[in-house]
């Protein structure tokens, strides 16, 4: 099945996320919009935070703008409307604020380039999604982002597409390793134990949970020493450790040791993992078991073999390298797509 058919059916809301700036996210979005047009999908488009500028704010390298087609519904900050090349009918003024002004809902009347700057917080993004559905569309694409502070878009969409690029490292092996690691984290197995899910809902904070689902809540402050504190709370009959927040390398190292890994570590989702791939793989060999409450569905991975810093990988090598570690669709949008 072609990717766009899969998206049409299984990913009513889809976020496109880049693993780094310039990893080809906007190109991927443009590609998907083009594919959607071929099968007459009516699209709603928005983004997390400001995006779609002509030059990337961080590296000042050129970044493709979003090219929108007639009929698409766009949710974007008011100030971006001063600069659009596309012609837009303004439909609705919302009460959702962003650094680029209030979100305004528009319909593309004449195609062209556009900046899209969507909401910052997850709850605002949910509101925008709800508003967009009013406008008789088939799918919503979000130019997304993974961020600790703002909205992690894959969590509020049905799934995501990951854009990985040469920009991640000058060493292609490292690009493959990092990309595969993120894919693994996002798609960690979901907790199936219903009683555990219910228990965690009640606890709602970091805790150690026993076989009989009794638990001890742990008040953790950010900083060092949390690992030891959790480890101290572990008892013989501890079955799960629920971490409500970020899982860092040092924390994870504290929780996993060779003799005593009879328990599972439970996280909210894979975006909370900030562990380097090397330590991750080491600890996995030592018997670490991690489950998540929400698994993120990945529709496909796109690669951009060209780095803005001037080096290039062979597209086929990069694709093959990532494919070795996953069953997902991996392709380069610039060389013709799937």
């Amino acid at each position: 099945m072609r990717l766009i058919q899969d998206i049409k059916k299984n990913y009513k809301t889809l976020s496109i996320i880049g693993l780094a700036k310039n990893s080809g996210k906007t190109m991927t979005l443009n590609y998907l919009m083009h594919e959607a047009k071929k099968i007459n999908l009516k699209l709603g488009i928005t983004s997390t935070g400001r995006d779609g500028e002509k030059t990337d704010l961080v590296t000042e390298t050129e970044k493709p703008t979003i090219y929108v087609e007639e009929g698409m519904i766009i949710a974007t900050g008011r100030k971006t409307l001063y600069l659009t090349d596309a012609s837009l009918e303004l439909l609705e003024d919302t009460d959702i604020f962003t650094p680029m002004g209030r979100i305004i809902i528009c319909r593309v009347v004449q195609e062209g380039e556009i900046q899209v700057a969507g909401p910052i917080s997850a709850s605002d993004m949910q509101k925008v999604i709800n508003i967009l559905w009013k406008y008789d569309i088939d799918n919503i694409f979000i130019d997304g982002a993974i961020d600790r502070k703002t909205v992690s878009s894959p969590l509020i969409t049905d799934g995501c597409i990951i854009a990985a690029g040469a920009v991640l490292s000058r060493d292609m092996k490292k690009v493959i390793e990092k990309t595969s690691h993120i894919i693994e984290c996002y798609t960690l197995p979901e907790v199936k134990d219903k009683k555990l899910i219910e228990t965690i809902k009640n606890i709602n904070t970091t805790a150690v949970i026993s076989k009989d689902y009794t638990y001890e809540k742990l008040e953790l402050k950010t900083g060092l020493g949390n690992g030891a504190k959790i480890k101290n709370a572990v008892k013989k009959d501890t079955k799960y450790i629920f971490i409500d927040g970020a899982l860092t390398t040092s924390l994870l190292k504290n929780l996993v040791d060779k003799d005593n890994s009879s328990y599972k570590i439970i996280l909210r989702d894979g975006t909370k993992i900030f562990v380097d791939p090397y330590s991750w793989n080491n600890l996995k060999r030592q018997g670490m078991k991690i489950n998540v409450l929400k698994r993120i569905k990945i529709a496909a991975v796109t690669v951009n073999p060209v780095s803005p810093y001037g080096y290039v990988f062979r597209s086929e090598d990069l694709i093959e390298g990532i494919k070795k570690n996953t069953n997902l669709k991996v392709f380069n949008v610039e060389t013709g797509g799937e």
Binding site: R78, E89, L90, D93, R102, V109, G310
Partner: protein, 543 residues
């Protein structure tokens, strides 16, 4: 100092009340910043304002109104811009159109559901104006919805240009498609979204073939690949030129239309401004009515008299605090006339809170609010001043005594006006002999003035004199002391709360000059070491 200085605002906890007034529209918020303070002589205007608060309190669609106001956006800047002759952006015109629609909703909701008994109330000031011609111009398709675009309906020229643009675009795609097919056929290559193909440098033959061919041209390279793009045929070039030209003409025509609409906005400047003001007024009065509801405040009776009568007045912040800690607030009744009123009485007897209650109630009145008491009758004041003896002026480097005196001097300079002067323990921090002298003099001085002054003091005899009204906190005088002692014994840690429970905070008028000495009694009840209490008693007896 005009009506209240910042110290007074703070010491009365009046900000607590102001914070409860929460307009929701940008116009209401702006209006709150310039909230009107009513002065003596403006009693009629104040009555009208209070009638409005009452009207909104009784309005059955108040929630709908709030909802509409919450969705009303700021367009003041755009309207000013149009007035100055600038051409508005499409998004600005869209916002003005939406503002007008919101105004229409406010009008319908407000006017169609006026409370029955208020049908004759004069609401001229709150009437939204209808801007028919502007409305029509912003809705050329008569859709009656809030969307906006420089619609085709605005000009025949625009339709014409847009049609031609579309046609050119179609031809362009057709020509590009033709080339795509050729590229596919000749080189078996598919162009990407950017009309590019990326060819590895290793494929020398293919590169040579492309370089020799007619369809592709070199665009860029990196060290692995050559990138080629569609070679622009004369036909494509011609179409692109035409397209750009049409686009420019279209933008020019759109600008002309926006200019006309901006002019129309400018022509309606006065009415738009009026409507913004009305929305602001409605929003603020609605917020005032909300505050009244929340604080269970009532409509005061306004007179022109120089007197204040508060029945069962409550100091809101103290009341809230007590409620949250599980106790209750005892409402206080006071009648005040020009001249000095002295409040004496037990420590912990709530004298300071009573002063604050009087000031807060009067401030609420001057701000056109309902007042937190069961009944209020009285007239407006030119200013309110409270001295709690703990004001320090850091900037001027004055101690609390210095700051107190400096403030009082400024207040006494306004002797012609009708003020409300509240003084808690005047000169409380200085030596008793001089403190007494200053207090007595000021009590007598203020007693001759037009202002209403209320002073709490511990100094015996400072309040002497027939003409000075003396109020006393009932305190612990009428209680079953054995019962209180027993309760304190059971739970000594809660001494303060238990005494507060037995304390009678009400005020009664007294004629004599004796100031009650409750301090030692309370110290004893609170469990101060017995030797200390006894020694203190001895000293008093010796005196």
């Amino acid at each position: 100092m005009n009506f209240m200085n910042t110290n007074t605002l703070k010491n009365l906890d009046f900000q607590h009340i102001l914070n409860l007034i929460e307009p929701i529209s940008p116009y209401g918020i702006k209006n709150k910043k310039n909230i009107r303070i009513f002065m003596p002589g403006e009693e009629e205007e104040l009555k009208e304002e209070l009638d409005k608060v009452e009207l909104f309190l009784k309005h059955e669609k108040r929630d709908d109104l709030k909802n509409i106001l919450a969705h009303t956006k700021e367009v003041g800047e755009s309207v000013e811009k149009a007035k100055k002759g600038y051409v508005l952006l499409t998004v600005e015109i869209f916002e003005i159109k939406n503002f007008m629609i919101q105004c229409e909703k406010v009008k319908n909701t407000f006017e169609s559901f006026l409370p029955e008994e208020m049908k004759n109330f004069n609401i001229e000031e709150l009437k939204i104006k209808k801007l028919e011609n502007l409305e029509k111009s912003l809705d050329p398709r008569e859709d009656n919805i809030n969307t906006f675009y420089i619609y085709d309906e605005y000009s025949k020229k625009l339709i014409n240009l847009r049609n031609r643009k579309r046609k050119i675009k179609k031809e362009m795609s057709k020509e590009k498609e033709r080339i795509r097919e050729k590229v596919k056929k000749e080189y078996d290559l598919t162009l990407n979204l950017k009309d590019e193909v990326i060819i590895s440098k290793a494929e020398k033959k293919l590169i040579d073939k492309i370089e020799e061919g007619d369809y592709l041209t070199f665009a860029s390279e990196n060290y692995l690949n050559h990138i080629y793009t569609i070679r622009k045929t004369p036909k494509i070039l011609e179409l692109e030129n035409k397209y750009d030209e049409m686009k420019k003409l279209e933008e020019k025509e759109e600008k002309r239309i926006r200019k006309n609409l901006s002019k129309l906005v400018s022509d309606n400047y006065e009415d738009l401004k009026w409507n913004m003001e009305v929305v602001g007024k409605i929003d603020l009065v609605l917020a005032k009515s909300e505050e009244a509801k929340q604080t269970e405040s009532l409509k005061p009776k306004i007179t022109k008299d120089n007197s204040i009568s508060i029945i069962d007045g409550r100091h809101l912040k103290t009341e809230k605090f007590l409620k949250e800690s599980g106790s209750s607030y005892t409402p206080i009744t006071v009648e005040l006339k020009p001249g000095t009123t002295c409040i004496t009485g037990a420590n912990m007897g709530g004298k300071t809170v009573t002063l604050k209650m009087i000031g807060q109630t009067m401030a609420a009145l001057s701000y056109g609010l309902f007042v937190p008491c069961r009944e209020f009758t009285g007239g407006l004041r030119h200013y309110i001043y409270i001295s709690t003896g703990d004001e320090q002026s850091v900037e001027k480097g004055l101690s609390s005594f210095g700051a107190e005196i400096s403030n009082l001097r400024d207040v006494f300079n306004r002797e012609e006006e009708r003020g409300l002067i509240l003084i808690d323990e005047l000169a409380g921090g200085t030596n008793p002999k001089e403190g007494y002298a200053i207090t007595k003099t000021i009590i007598e001085y203020l007693n001759e003035k037009n202002s209403i002054s209320v002073i709490t003091t511990h100094f015996d005899k400072a309040a002497e004199g027939e003409k000075i009204l003396k109020l006393q906190v009932s305190g612990l005088s009428n209680i079953d002391e054995e019962k209180l002692k027993e309760e304190l014994k059971k739970d000594p840690k809660r001494g303060k709360e238990i005494i507060a429970k037995y304390m009678d905070y009400t005020l009664k008028e007294v004629k004599g000059n004796e100031v009650p000495k409750d301090a030692l009694r309370i110290a004893q009840l609170m469990g101060l070491q017995e030797d200390i209490v006894n020694k203190a008693k001895e000293i008093i007896e010796k005196d």
